[in-house]
Structure formats: C-alpha cells, structure tokens
C-alpha cells in the first residue's frame, strides 16, 4: 500500500532523535558520523520499504538499523578501535560494547543534553537557532534558508562552521552543573524564543513551514518542562507565551497569505485549546519570585486572547509594557507600549509620546503614527502611511498600506 507521507513524517520526528542519541553515544567529535548514519538509515528505509512494503513497526525498524550501523561504525572506525574502544574493553571486562539506547527516556535525555550543547556561548546566537533547527528538529539547509529568507549557501556554511566549532571544542553533550543551569538554561530559552519568532514573524510565504517552526520551538520547550531541573518558572512562562501567540496562527493570515491585523481577526479561528494550555503554563510560571521578560510578555499575550476592548485590558497591557521596557528596551516594545497608551489615555497623548520615539527609519513607527493620525489628521496619516510603504520590502504589505490610504481619501 502506498503511504507517500509516512517517510517524510518519520524523518521529521525520528531523524533528530537518532542523531541526538548516536552523537551522545559517540561523542561530539563524531557529530557528522551520527548524522550520516541517520541519513543512511532513512535512505535504506526508502529503498527497502519501496520494494518489500512497510515493516510492522516502522519506527522500531529505523531504530534497529541505526543501532546496528552505529555498532558497526564503532567496531571498524580506527579512532574507536585504537583509542575509545580499548578503554571500553578495559572498563567492562566482559568485552561487551554497550549498544546505543533508543528508548524513549534516553531519546528525551539525549535531545535535552544536545540542546544545552548547541546553545553554547561559543556559538553565535544566529547559528544556534540554525543548529537547533538542523540537529534537533531535522530541518535541512534548504528549509532553514527559506524560513530565514536567505540563500541556501549562507545557511549551509553557517551550519558547517558551527558544527566544526562543536567538534573542535569537543563540547560535552551533558547537563550543565547545577549552579550553571540558570545561565545556560537562559541561553536555551533565548534560542527557542528566536526559533519561534522566526516562524511567527517570518516574511516567508510558506505558511506550513512557518507553522512547523513554531511547533518545533514549542516541542523543545515541552521537553524542558519534562525534566525537573529545567522545568522552571521561566521556561513555563516562555511556553505560555508561545501558546498564546500560536493560538492566533490561523487567524492572522488569510488564504492569499496576506496579514490579517489583530483587530480584524475572526475570533472563531483562535485556537481555544492552545489558549487554555497557555493559561495552564502561565499559572505554573507563577512559582518563584523572579519575573522574567517571558513572564511579562506572556501576561501581555494573555490579555490579547481577550478580543473585546475593555479599559481593564488595555490598562493592564500598558502597565505590563511599562514594566517590560524597564527591563529590556526594544523598538517594537516601545511602539506597542505607545499604542496601548493611546488606547488608555487617548489618541492625542498617544501621538505626543509616539513622536518622542523618533524611530524614523522603522516601518512600524510610521504604521503606528499612521494609525493614530487616521483618527485626527488625514494629511499627517497619509504622510506616515506613504513613509511606511517606502520602508516596506513586501509587496503584500505595500498593497495593504495603499488600501488604507485609499480608504482615508474616501
């Protein structure tokens, strides 16, 4: 029976697991060999299954093949034979070489440890996101390039350089020691957060790919929560944030791939179960006294799951943005805060504060002022929408801004 989607699906879920387990088994210097074995396993599957039909348990079949290939590699690789293997032989007098363990618990353990290995300060953050997608999520250079809107070669070279670094430094695939966990975990969370944002805010037209990125970021975050040392208030807050954002995934673009702004979204398309999950994780993030930026952002995102404009909603959002800006300034936070201010204290005060931001080369600055002036001064509004068109790089976006101007002049 033809099952055209099974192998790609298995590749997406199983490839990264095999790589993580084998790489942890061999050690980081053998990352490439672990990847090769995983690839060969899938190649063999596609050839064999095509001829002989599907095995009863395809996943178990993949694991067995990968396991045998790994043992074969250890027995025949010179480095293992001469350096690593004798030590194992000495350590275990029965001369029994331990097999790679592809049990669910060791898969999870290996992926978690791999996450810490990749999110290492010696790797540039941008490359960490790429590595996470490649090694932990099984995305190829082509897919990553499409999501990042850059060309394949750039990504390929970036991945190769980062992998070289992991091997050269012989980064251990292990949990950081207890007192280093907060700092190292924070690097892991940053990577997950960037990974999610890459999917959520990417200008790429490939909606399925963007959604996959978001889901993968959430899956990695869930892995962290399954381990007690990494199930922290902060990691719960980040997952809550992502659940709330992801709940609007279907509603925020239409069938033509055009952006549907928050105010114009169909609330019925919001994913209620995801919102509930977000609330669950938000509650769990309330343990401990430290308030991270993820906590504040999750709380802001929570209020956005209430569609109706109420004084309470915008007042809360404004105060949260005030707090967030005191911890961490970003232009987009400043702009969002000013929008909330206009909702609470009126458009005039919003305009006054917006103009103080002076982010004249920021497209969203002009979108904000365009929106605010729409209500009070058509000429000024036009000026800002025109400016936004000049700064925009996307045709669908330009078309949207033009439609706003056209509506104004009627």
């Amino acid at each position: 029976m033809e099952q055209p989607s099974l192998l790609p699906d298995l590749f997406r879920t199983e490839y990264s697991k095999i790589v993580a387990v084998l790489c942890k088994y061999f050690g980081m210097p053998f990352l490439e060999q672990a990847e090769d074995i995983a690839s060969e396993t899938f190649l063999l599957a596609s050839n064999t299954w095509g001829l002989k039909g599907l095995p009863n348990n395809p996943t178990a079949w993949l694991y067995t093949v990968a396991k045998n290939k790994a043992i074969d590699f250890i027995k025949h690789n010179q480095v293992f034979k001469q350096k690593v293997y004798p030590e194992i032989l000495v350590a275990s007098p029965t001369a029994y070489v331990p097999e790679p363990d592809l049990s669910p618990s060791n898969i999870m353990d290996s992926q978690l440890k791999m996450m810490f290995a990749i999110c290492n300060p010696i790797i540039p953050v941008e490359a960490q996101v790429g590595l996470a997608l490649n090694i932990l999520c099984g995305f190829g250079a082509d897919e990553i390039a499409e999501a990042f809107l850059t060309n394949r070669d750039v990504i390929y070279k970036r991945l190769q350089r980062a992998k070289q670094k992991l091997r050269d430094e012989n980064i251990s695939i292990d949990f950081p020691v207890q007192n280093e966990i907060p700092l190292r975990l924070s690097a892991v969370l940053t990577t997950i957060y960037l990974l999610f944002n890459e999917g959520y805010y990417s200008a790429s037209q490939n909606k399925t790919l963007r959604k996959d990125l978001c889901l993968e970021a959430m899956r990695l975050n869930v892995l962290l929560l399954e381990h007690q040392n990494t199930n922290t208030a902060e990691s719960n807050a980040l997952l809550a944030l992502m659940c709330f954002h992801a709940s609007r995934f279907e509603a925020r673009s239409n069938n033509n791939g055009e952006i549907v702004l928050y105010e114009e979204q169909d609330e019925q398309l919001w994913n209620k179960p995801l919102i509930q999950k977000g609330e669950y994780y938000l509650n769990h993030s309330a343990k401990g006294s430290h308030i991270s930026t993820y906590h504040i952002e999750a709380a802001i995102a929570y209020w956005h799951t209430h569609k109706q404009d109420t004084v309470e909603k915008w007042e809360n959002i404004l105060q949260l943005y005030n707090k967030l800006l005191q911890i961490q300034y970003t232009p987009i936070t400043a702009l969002n805060r000013t929008f909330a201010l206009s909702k609470v204290n009126g458009v005039d005060e919003g305009i006054l504060d917006a103009e103080k931001l002076k982010l004249i080369n920021n497209k969203m600055y002009h979108v904000l002022l365009g929106k605010l002036y729409n209500e009070v001064n058509q000429m000024q509004a036009n000026y800002h929408w025109e400016f936004a068109i000049k700064l925009s790089k996307s045709d669908t976006e330009k078309a949207y801004f033009k439609s706003v101007i056209n509506k104004l002049s009627k």
Binding site: N322, L325, Q326, Y329, D353, K356
Partner: protein, 115 residues
Amino acid sequence: MNDFLLVFRNDVALSQTQMSPDQMQTMMKTWMDWIGGIAAQNKLVSPGNRLAPSGKVLATNNVITDGPFVEIKEAIGGYIIVKAETIDEATQLSHGCPILDVGGTVEIRMIIKMD
C-alpha cells in the same frame, strides 16, 4: 550620552498624608506611565527608587537627628537615572513628571563618570 540623576522633591507635609488605596493606585499608574514613556525612548538607565518620607541625619561628632528636616520644607521622595546628550535634553525628559502635579520639583544633575 551622559547619565543624569533626576531627584524628586516634594512638600514634607504632603508626603506624609495618607492616601486611599485607589489614590495610591492612580498615583502609581501616573508614575509608571511617565517612567514608561522615558523607557520607550530608550533613555531610562535605572528606574531608581522611592524613598520613605522620614529618615535620620548623621553629622560630624556623631550627632544624629531625625528627619524630616525642620529647616527645609522639601524632602527627597525618590529618584531615577536617565541618559541624554545634554542637560537640556534631560530637563526636557523631566517634563510631565507627576511630582510637578503636586507642587514638587525635579532636580536634574549630571552624573560625573569615574574611570
């Protein structure tokens, strides 16, 4: 860019009047909005602190006196640190400070960097 200390002073008597929880919340909100506005311009260095209205003064020869301080009418209620190119710009940032609504003042002082 230089750092500037903004010191908020207001009437001692005023700072000791009791406020209802609602008044307190409204006051906090106006302060947070004002500080948030400075942070939105990426010009907040530190959100500073609020100070309790009473205190003590230690002078030479270990003379300790209780504040608030009889010889002056105004006491420091709090401070924040902002960054700006010039003292004029820092003064500009001080406009809209809620302390001005209750007859207080903002004192703007450049912080001298030690290297």
